[in-house]
Symmetry: C2
Subunit: 351 residues, 2 copies
Amino acid sequence: TPVFDHAEHQHIRYNPLRDTWVLVSAHRMKRPWKGQVEKPPEENIPRHDPLNPLCPGATRVNGEVNPEYDNTFVFDNDFPALQPDSPEPGVSDHPLFQVRAATGVCKVMCFHPWSDITLPLMQISEIKNVIEKWMELIWELGEKYPWVQIFENKGSMMGCSNPHPHCQVWASNFLPNEPSLADRCQRDYYKKNGIPMLLDYANQESQRKVRMVVENEDWIVVVPYWATWPFQTLLLPRRHVLRLIDLTGKEKESLASIMKRLLTKYDNLFEIAFPYSMGWHGAPTGIHLKEDMNHWQLHAHYYPPLLRSATIRKFMVGYEMLAQEQRDLTPEQAAERLRNLSEEHYAMKRQ
Amino acid sequence: TPVFDHAEHQHIRYNPLRDTWVLVSAHRMKRPWKGQVEKPPEENIPRHDPLNPLCPGATRVNGEVNPEYDNTFVFDNDFPALQPDSPEPGVSDHPLFQVRAATGVCKVMCFHPWSDITLPLMQISEIKNVIEKWMELIWELGEKYPWVQIFENKGSMMGCSNPHPHCQVWASNFLPNEPSLADRCQRDYYKKNGIPMLLDYANQESQRKVRMVVENEDWIVVVPYWATWPFQTLLLPRRHVLRLIDLTGKEKESLASIMKRLLTKYDNLFEIAFPYSMGWHGAPTGIHLKEDMNHWQLHAHYYPPLLRSATIRKFMVGYEMLAQEQRDLTPEQAAERLRNLSEEHYAMKRQ
Ligand SMILES: O=P(O)(O)O[C@H]1O[C@H](CO)[C@@H](O)[C@H](O)[C@H]1O
Ligand SMILES: O=P(O)(O)O[C@H]1O[C@H](CO)[C@@H](O)[C@H](O)[C@H]1O
C-alpha cells in the first residue's frame, strides 16, 4: 500500500470545537461539474439609492427616516426574529414536545454610508469604527442577554437581500446551539489540558504554518484543520481574550488590518466580492459575565460557499445533511491558495 | 400580556433526535423578500439522452456502457468520496490534530430508465422496486460497513447535477456525525423511558393530528415538532422497525404508496418538481447487526429548501450557521398546508 497523502487519500478529521468529524476527499476535485451555476454578484451598485432602507436619509418600512449618517449606523431590525417581550408558552406535557419562551433583540448595523463599498475596500480607520461599534453592542446587549450574535451574511448567495454593507446582531435570552456546543467543548479541553483550546491551537498553527493565511503581531487567520467549507477560515487572537470588549486599542487596530488583508485575499480568489457568512464567538455574557469563563477564547468564523469559481459553489446537501460534512480539497490546499494571493484588491489594480 | 400563540409568539422547540433547539418566529413571514430568487426546475427534460451517463445504454466517464435497464440500475460512483482502500494516516501527534482513515463505497442508483419521470409520477409497483433495491443494498453493504447512507438530492437547488431520477448510497467504515448523534439520543431516551423514542413519537402524533401530513395503516408522515426547514417531514413506521431490511411485503407496498402521496403533495405545493434532500436512518449495521439496537426506529428525513414559492427558498446562513436554526412558519402551519393539498399530481391534471 502507498504512503498516506492527505491530498490523495480520503480521511476524516476531528473538529474539537463541535465534537464532530469531517470527511476529506480531495481526489473529488477531479470530477467535472454539470450542476447549478450561481449568478456572480451584482457589479454596478449605486452609491446612494434613496429607496434602499439601509441608506442615509432613506425612509424605512416603519416610517422612520434614517439620519444622514457618515460612519456606522445601527437600528432595530424591522422584521425581528427575536422581540423583547413574548408570553410564556406554559409547561410541556411530554418530553418530545418541549417548548420555551424566547426573547431578545435584533439589530442591523450599516458599516458605511455608501452602498457600493465593502469591508476590504474600506479604510483601516473605517473598519476600526465597525469594530468599536461591535464592542459597544456587546457591552449594551451583553449586560442583559447571555448571547449576542454578531454576524454578516455577505452576497445574495448567502441569503443577503441588500447590497449595502451591513451586519446583524441578534441577542437572545438563551445560549443558542452553536455557542453552547463551543462552550462545552472548550470547557472540557480546558479541564483536561489546563490551557484554553483555541489558545493552544493558535500556538500550534503559528509553528506549523501550513494552514496559515495571514498573520500579524496580535492575530492569526488559518483554514482550520477541521474546516468544512472549501475556503473556511478561523480568525484568532494570539493572546487569551474572552470577548470583543476586552480588546486593547492596539488590538482593534491590528484586527482592522488583518480583516482587510483576509477579505482582500478572499475577493482576489475569484475576482468578485466574495460571498460568506461570518460571525463572532466570545465568552457568553449576561449572567455569565460574573462566572469563570477562562476556557473561552474569542474567535470569528468565516464560512464562504464557493468551491471552484465565482459561479460554482459547494452544496452541503444529502450526505452532508443526513450523515456528515464532506470537503473536496484539503484545508492545506485551501490555505496555500489564499496565502499566495495578492494583498492588493483586484478592483484597485483595475483603476 | 396576551395568551401564548405558537403562530404569533416566537419560541424555541427541542429536537430530541439531535439534542438541539430551533427558533420558531412565525411572524417573520410578514417580511417582504428582496433577495436571491432561484431558477425553477427545468421542465423539458428529454426522456432519453445518449450523452447522459445515467441513461440506459450510455457510456460513462470510465468507459463502461450502461445496460439497457428497464427497472432500477445500480453502479459505482465514478467520483467516489469513499473508496474501499486507503492507507492509514498514522497516529495524531496532538489532540487538536486528530485524523483517521476512512474507507467505504459510493454507489449511484437510477430509479427508472426514463429521465423525465420522478418518484411521485412513477407507478406504485415501480416505487416498490426502488424500495426493494434499497433493501438489497443495505443487506449487501451493511454486512461489512457500520453505516450505509441512502440519500437523494433532488433538483439543482440541492446540488443535484443530473435530472435523471436517482439516489446515492455511501457506505463507510465509521458511524458519521448525524447517525451517531441519533444513536446517542435514541439510546438515552430508551434507557429513560423504556420505549423507542420515535415509536413513542409516532403514537403521540397519531393522536395529536396537527402535524400529520399523510398516514396509512403502516406509516405516518409528519412535519416534526422540531422541524427546521419550512416543509421538512419525517416518515415513520407505526410499528417498531429497526432497519429497511426488516420490512414485510405489505409494509413495502404501503411505503411505496405513502411516498407517492407525500411527494405528490410536495410537487403540488408550488406546482413544480419539489426539490429536497432525503435520506434513510435505520439502526447501524456491520458489527452492530449483532448488538442490541432496540432503541433505534427506522425513519426517513425530507429536507426541502423552499419557503414561499417555487423560486424563494429559506437560507440557512449567518444566524443559523453561527448560532441556531430559525424558521419562519410553524410546523403546524406547514403541516396544514401540505395536508390540504390534493393527492392528484398537478402534471396529471394538466393532461
Ligand atoms: O455526488 P454529487 O451528486 O455529484 O454531489 C452532490 O452530493 C454530494 C453528497 O451530498 C455533495 O457532497 C455535493 O456537494 C453535491 O453537489
Ligand atoms: O435577516 P435577513 O437578512 O432578511 O435574512 C437572512 O439572514 C437570516 C439570519 O441568518 C436568515 O434567517 C434568513 O433566512 C436570511 O435570508
